[in-house]
């Protein structure tokens, strides 16, 4: 459950960076573009970092193929 919540927050932040990036890019507002990059960058960094942290995994096993 923990991982699902963290991933949920990551997804919301990623999606939120879209209107911010659009506003900043279309209106040439530097701070909005920087904010969008920071939001998206930080959110994107979470899943790879989580791989190395002992956070509850509720979406299946790590390795091994089903074939």
């Amino acid at each position: 459950m923990t991982k699902l919540i963290v991933y949920g927050v990551v997804l919301v932040v990623m999606l939120a960076s879209l209107p911010v990036a659009s506003f900043g890019s279309a209106s040439e507002v530097t701070w909005a573009m920087a904010l969008a990059l920071i939001l998206f960058g930080v959110a994107s960094a979470v899943p790879p970092v989580l791989r190395f942290l002992p956070v509850g995994d509720d979406d299946g096993d790590e390795d091994g193929d089903d074939e």
Partner: protein, 537 residues
Amino acid sequence: MTELPIDLLHWAVAASPIIVLLLLLTVLRWKAPEAGPVGMFVGAVTALTLFRAPLETLAAAVGSGVWDAVFILLVVWPALLLYRVTDAAGGFSALRIGIRRFSRNHLFLVLAFGWVFASFLQGIAGFGTPIAVVAPLLVAIGVKPVFAVVIPLIGHAWANMFGTLAVGWLATLQVVDLEDELTTAVQTAVLLWIPNILGAVAIAWLFGRGRAILHGLPFIAVISLIQGGGQLGIVFFEPILSTFLASTAALIALYPLSRWSRYRERADHIENRPAMEDNARDLEDDEEKAPMSFTWSLLPYGVLSATSIIALAIPPVTDFLGRFEFGPSFAESETGYGFTAEIDDPYSPIALLTHPGTFLLIATAVTWAVFRARGYYDEWQKKEGKEPIWRNTAEDAVPASIAIISFLVLAKILDFSGQIEVLALGIAEIAPPLVFAVLANAIGVLGAFMTSSNTASNVLFSQLQLTVADSEGLAPSAIIAAQSTGGAVGNAIAPANIVLGTTTAGIVGKEGAVLRYTLPWVAMVTVIVGLATLIFV
């Protein structure tokens, strides 16, 4: 003035994000939501450093990449919801039992779902719908989950170019000025016949190696004649409907084929079945009870097909529904090399009412209302326990959404910073004319791999392909046909498509395992299509 550096260093650096992504997925076996962002960060670093992209370019790439992902997520979430809503009422159990009466031949069923039905869905709905819908159907009849994703990925690829009412073809006509549209369309249809046949042969081989290919040969020959041959014939008159009509005719042809004893009865002589679960044969004999009839279990697919056809195949309806569209705006910016990617304003508008996600949502709502009214949920829950539909959907869809977003943002970063251009120009630079002709479809594959879209691949590379074809004295129609075929085939390895399948098949994190099967198939088809292109140049 663009002064993109076309040299080995810049070419290798431009390829590095893709290589890192592939290594993480296939060799190190990272899950897609973990590998996607790493590939994206590598792409961002190479964009900012060696390709001199300003932060404005990166911001526009993030925004447009997320928007492109939203387009796909509008398929992913409703497709998963439809799967859960059907499953929680015992729909898949009923389907399994009903299919047994239709045919007890597993090879027939795998080809029927993974090739014929997936192609039909691509013919009308597209945008990943075939993979998201067919993967759980294959799991329900006893196919191992990894193969349940691999099979529709391979099976539907040929239908990408003229599928979804030829959106890829129409987009290509918008971005390039073709002297001979008919010749280009015909040559494209000829080349697309190759992945059509090889897709079916590969599915049979995955199912049961050589014996399965021999057993399935008449089926493959008949259906391929209808699909590939039908598409080729129709393209002379109406390219827009060519895949839709051909794949619908193939779907209808399943009935007479299922009456043939060869495909009605079990094929026990195919003993080695690597794609099937060990208990798949037991499932045939299982006396399980489902709360609904076979006919009712087909309700979701009937509603999905009917709404798609009404909304997309009747021009006045399509025109009316297509009016309601919207998209964000992004400013274009120039890199240090003077490279500027064109960004339309509004950017890639979404017509919500003609989007396949809407058809999936309608199918979900109708299915839920009808199944509930008929008491199927209560009956199935008494037997199997309560299924939390929303939570199960979220558990699958959230990680898949993160992966898809990061893949598409990576694609936009590489596009806007000129890295994709360098990759394609690098191939064109060193390849003599005939070698370029062979490699032209590989560029299409690259575009589809990055964007998960035949249309996007053609929009990205068609002009470049045409420019190189002109400068090297190659027939433009042949090179665009090769690009289009590559764009179709590349969908089988597109990470976003793979994630769609692993999510609905319930194996999120096994994207690398899927790639290990689809990658060699795509490589083989790319070589054969490349050699076949030489016939036309």
